[in-house]
Assembly symmetry: C2
Homo-oligomer: 409 residues x 2
């Protein structure tokens, strides 16, 4: 077997997407030691950068060493004790994932659901919080399975009024859709690099409010192998149930990232380099500018697929900026058309899960690929592929409609 | 803040160590889609390569997306049900870690201990297994905290005779010390890239015997968001307790790596590229040759520090090839001398944990840094630093003794 030599691909699915070459360059840097002053400074800088990305003053802002799913589980397993009541508003696949993880934490999980393609009205959320009286509300912001973006501006206040903490999975939305940790009163938010942040999967940025930190610190337990005399005292004062995971124990990870620098896992330095560069580029561009960029290219793709004569799935007033779901035309095999896009043009578009499987494609415009050339190339190729499958398409309609969006912007 | 620009470092601690530049190059490759045929083929190739690294025919050989600690926890949380009896032979810090993780899984954990710097005789292990009658024996092969390498050739047979499964944490030893999954009857082994494999932390290779797979499959639970009709039937047949973690649920990860390619986490592609390259380079060198290389350079470092007049810690007959613990000479501040090595020579050597903290340094020779120039440079610098701190050292004694080892080899 030879060295890694990937084929050229333009990744226009719901993520992961093509990585910004600057992030790959950052990740090719050589390692320094785990507790080298340069390394611990770099970790501190990474916290500072992600505070700007998450729009928060939260001291506890750092990385979980795993994919975005590891960040979700770290949040839930560290916040939830067995028997805790949780409310999960489900509007797509990733709401089911939050439910499933919360169940494995032993929580009493209550769900509310809307059909795929819709979001919850704030009053529906408020009624549910009042009725269930959960200790935690766990919700996805942007669920790529449906392309919907749940409005969250009121939910923090609702949760605070009812004494619940608020966790938001912002994996697919952060950096490409407005997200305000502090202004919205979000207690814990997690993300990944592989969507709007333009990096590869494998590192999960997280931020925790002081209230969330307090709840987690009460469950802290330091490993016997590195515990010191003062810690033995703290062991006796623990109030909560010990966190069920060691690897995803946020109390321990905070001690590792904090001034005490207490050994936990061995930091995944190369992923740290990548995560820092993703945030650095976003902050350099300006978070508002990055969101506007995603909105512009997302709108071009939306109008482009409509211009081809395709129908868009779901409530477009609440669509994420960075992905659109398109009904597969009658008589076209969704998988065969995706294969033609890949084989003939090197372009990947996404399939779907659950109730949408076989019915829609999902086309992303995010991170490094929220670019005009990526949008127009995808639309031009899609027109050719659809024509090849005998679907009725408007010649030049996709690229033309997208160009109009760019002309207006 | 500018782009990543690390200082030049020679990492001669107990790991992580300097990454092989070929691994960094592999990790700079661009991404392809998660279910692109090229990507799934690459995952299959990675399994094939790690079978050779682990010396096994186990079909289930793949990567856990996290650091080596994630691999350990994935193994234990997937194998252990609450109330299961586990035996952990503890001979250093990482035995305590296995104990701690097993406790968080709700297992009934029994430990046996030897003083740091020693290993267990096979008959001591056999007696303990007969007495405790565990369902699982969990043991570290090479514990960097003490530099000891536990002999394991008999333990698989002992476990099988008593109906226990055997889990081995080979993080710090694999690729630099003999390890035989099949010949030794190991049921589950996990590792990391950041020691003898010459990569960065962040991916955990794992292999599972058919018996271990059977035990884990009995606890399989597929997420509601992606479950199909046939799975609903399987849900009804589940015998074991649902695995407490979703992210580290090996049943789900096997479905993701297996022919079904069932969506779980989003593969950390860049770490996969690195993990594949680490294994490819090791297989290209030959696993036996790599172990012999670690033995040669480890012996040169051992004789080198002795040649400087330093005393080596622990039972050197059972030392790992790839790390040596050296008593800090009287009157020398261990931390100040380490800082001088770093500041003046750019060389990192390791501090220690627990009972050895402040008493020994740990010096590694592993992965990319199991090289003559790395060994001799470290010894030359250490001589200068020790002299600067007023410690008695034999001028030229370190480099000279190491050169003799190389002359013999």
């Amino acid at each position: 077997m030879g060295p890694i030599d990937p084929p050229a691909r333009l990744l226009m699915g719901p993520g992961p997407i093509t990585v910004d070459p600057r992030v790959l360059r950052a990740m090719s840097a050589q390692l320094v030691g785990q507790f080298d002053p340069w390394m611990t400074d770099l970790m501190t800088e990474t916290s500072v950068l992600y505070r700007q990305v998450f729009r928060t003053a939260n001291e506890q802002t750092f990385l979980v060493d795993g994919t975005s799913r590891a960040g979700i589980e770290a949040a839930l397993v560290s916040l939830l004790e067995p028997g805790d009541r949780v409310l999960v508003p489900v509007f797509g696949r990733f709401g089911h994932l939050l439910t499933e993880i919360a169940e494995r934490c032993g929580a009493e999980v209550h769900t509310i659901e809307v059909p795929w393609g819709e979001v919850f009205a704030p009053e529906v959320l408020e009624d549910a919080v009042r009725r269930v009286r959960p200790s935690l509300v766990a919700v996805v912001q942007g669920d790529t399975s449906t392309t919907m973006c749940q409005p969250l501006a009121d939910l923090g206040r609702i949760c605070r009024d009812q004494g619940a903490l608020l966790y938001v999975d912002a994996t697919a939305s952060l950096g490409g859709n407005p997200f305000e940790t502090d202004a919205w009163g979000v207690d814990v938010a997690t993300a990944g690099l592989q969507k709007c942040l333009g990096g590869p999967s494998g590192s999960a940025p997280i931020t925790l409010s002081p209230l969330a930190v307090e709840a987690i610190e009460a469950r802290k337990h330091i490993e016997a192998g590195i515990r010191e005399a003062a810690d033995e005292h703290d062991e006796g004062r623990r109030r909560g149930t010990r966190i069920a995971s060691n690897y995803l124990d946020l109390a321990q990870i905070m001690d590792y990232w904090g001034p005490r620098r207490l050994n936990h896992h061995t930091e995944a330095s190369t992923m740290l380099y990548g995560a820092r560069e993703c945030a650095r580029l976003l902050v350099e561009e300006g978070v508002d500018n990055a969101v506007a960029r995603h909105a512009r290219h997302g709108r071009a793709m939306l109008e482009g697929v409509r211009g081809l004569g395709l129908e868009v799935f779901g409530d477009t007033a609440h669509k994420m900026t960075n992905v659109v779901a398109v009904h597969i035309p009658d008589g076209v095999s969704g998988d065969a058309a995706r294969a033609a896009m890949l084989d003939d043009f090197g372009i990947e578009i996404g399939t779907s899960f659950g109730p949408l499987h076989g019915k829609v494609w999902r086309i992303g415009t995010m991170g490094y690929n929220a670019r005009k050339d990526a949008v127009l190339t995808t639309l031009a190729a899609l027109e050719q592929v659809l024509r090849g499958f005998g679907a009725p398409v408007t010649a030049g309609g996709g690229v033309g409609a997208a160009r109009e969006v760019y002309a207006d912007a």
